[in-house]
């Protein structure tokens, strides 16, 4: 079933490749000729990318990049690069694509192309199981726990009107406080909330208050490759395989 799905994806990316070739851009052809898609990532950000004990690269981004490579008919080749060197590596043509939980940045779009988002990270409101979840921060009453110094704390400072805001040392402390009924609400990152909700089930995830879109990144001048990646991604995101991949790395709650 998965093979049939990839054949469909391949058909879509083939069309994109034709469009790219028509523009006189050989970026996709070069990748296909080499038989490999060189993927840059900083494998220190689980569950998106990490180095497994066996030494191989694993995570949601690794699986996603593998799907994209398959759709292009090539093998992925991993380049584990420190976060701050990712864009430079792409510019220097050391890699063909970045897949490293990278938020789109409008100021970079002269140099790079961002795919459609494949995941929206951000801050979520969590609450006690069974309690009605507030739809916005201004409606929150009682005690709201946040990580001191974090984006969540800044949000609470700006938007909370009727709740007592309690600052804690870490997101883990925030989630433990909500789970232990020491706080009525908490603000934490979506991925952390999903992971903890999956294992403990001791709080529920409510409204997402901020949206940070993660995208695949290619060079702006590599239009044929960008189009092929986007076409592949569009098919992948609609597939059951992608839903399984998300559940595998982020849990069923995300």
């Amino acid at each position: 079933m998965r093979r049939r799905q990839f054949l469909r994806i391949l058909a879509v990316t083939g069309c994109a490749a034709v469009a790219g070739c028509a523009a006189g851009d050989n970026s996709l052809a070069l990748v296909r000729r080499s038989g490999r898609l060189r993927v840059g990532l900083d494998a220190s950000f689980p569950p998106f990318e990490a180095v497994a004990p066996e030494g191989n690269i694993v995570g949601l981004d690794a699986d996603l990049a593998s799907y994209v490579a398959s759709a292009l008919g090539v093998q992925p080749e991993w380049h584990n690069i420190a976060y701050d060197g990712l864009y430079d590596a792409l510019a220097a043509r050391q890699v063909d694509m970045l897949a490293s939980a990278l938020p789109s940045d409008p100021l970079r779009t002269r140099d790079v192309s961002y795919s459609q988002p494949y995941f929206y990270d951000g801050v979520v409101l969590i609450g006690e199981p069974g309690a009605p979840l507030a739809a916005k921060l201004a409606d929150v009453t009682g005690r709201l726990a946040v990580e001191m110094g974090s984006e969540s704390a800044a949000l609470a400072r700006r938007l909370v009107r009727r709740a007592e805001v309690i600052e804690m040392m870490s997101e883990a402390d925030v989630m433990a406080a909500v789970a232990g009924a020491k706080a009525d609400w908490g603000l934490v990152g979506l991925v952390s909330a999903c992971a903890h909700a999956e294992t403990s089930g001791s709080f529920v995830i409510g409204v997402q208050l901020t949206q940070v879109p993660y995208c695949l990144v290619t060079r702006a001048q590599d239009k044929a490759l960008s189009q092929a990646v986007s076409a592949a991604l569009e098919s992948i995101l609609a597939s059951a395989a992608w839903q399984a991949c998300r559940r595998k790395w982020l849990g069923a709650k995300c």
């Binding site: 970079r108 726990a145 001191m148 974090s150 309690i166 804690m168």
Partner: protein, 355 residues
Amino acid sequence: MLLSAPPQQTVDLGPQQQVVSCNPKIGVHTRLTDEVEEWKIKLSLALAREMGATWVVEYFPWAYIEPEPGRFDWRHSDVILAHASRQGLSLVARLGYTPAWARPDGSTPSMLPQASWPAFAAFCAAFAARYRGVLSRVVIWNEPNLALEWGFRPPSPEQYSGLLSTCYPAIKASAPETIVLAGALAPMPSPLDDPTAMDDLTYLERLYAAGGGQYFDELAVHSYGWAYPADEPPDPGKVSFRRAELLRGIMETHGDGAKACLITEAGWNDHPRWTRAVSPSQRVLFTQQAYDLAYRSWPWCRAVAMWVLRFPWPQRSYQDYFAFLTSDFEPRPVYLAVKAYASNCVVAERPSQSL
């Protein structure tokens, strides 16, 4: 004709201000070098004062001020010094960045050939003379233990001692009360055979051995915390805030215990992905702890200027997470935490204990 006229002063200096802070050692490194608009310079310095900083460190590139030999353009530095003074701040000026006319073709501005030492010394002397009475201190060069900052040549404490011996008497001749700081060394344990960097402790030892100790009044220090708390015991093999104590020990060993140190860069970074970063809450606590530690336990430390108040525009890298203010002047949590600390000198307790 209008285009060639000198720029009008468009931003009023405002009334004379005074820093209100319980800890007189609080400082911050500003980044006004490339800040074009005067109102942003004024606002940056006002926000430094409002945070409780008594000290600011700023970089004044030689190449910007003396683009041709003997032709000085003081407009930008005049604006910064005037606003810093009006905000009641003590300004420490870091000097460096060689103009093209003073270095070989194809070299970078971190190259300062020996033949240009007298020209650089003359610039330092002119700078100190121009800002007598409002300038607190000058720092001669930056991180000379890095090849990157030393014209991509192997770092040489002996050569740097020669540079200090050229600049120091020139500054003292033109503005005797100006306090001259030896340039801060990059805190980094490095192997002896590393051509790109020299261990800062080794470098300082060799600087003294070369006779450089007689050509500075105080020592500038860079003291980043990386992922360690502010009170992490110093260790020659790692970078932590209290590494400054190791440099201090070398000064005392060489009979320089009467001279102060001034930390011109320090701090923690809370980038979510950078490997040397800490969490936002840790950054808040460690920063407060560092100011407090220097205040209560380091009588030899004049001030701690954390890197960095604000960048004129986003760096779009982990560097943005060293900033206390965003480029559009939004206070980051560490700014608010330092401001709160400066009002009562109480370091925040670990908040999870409060529930």
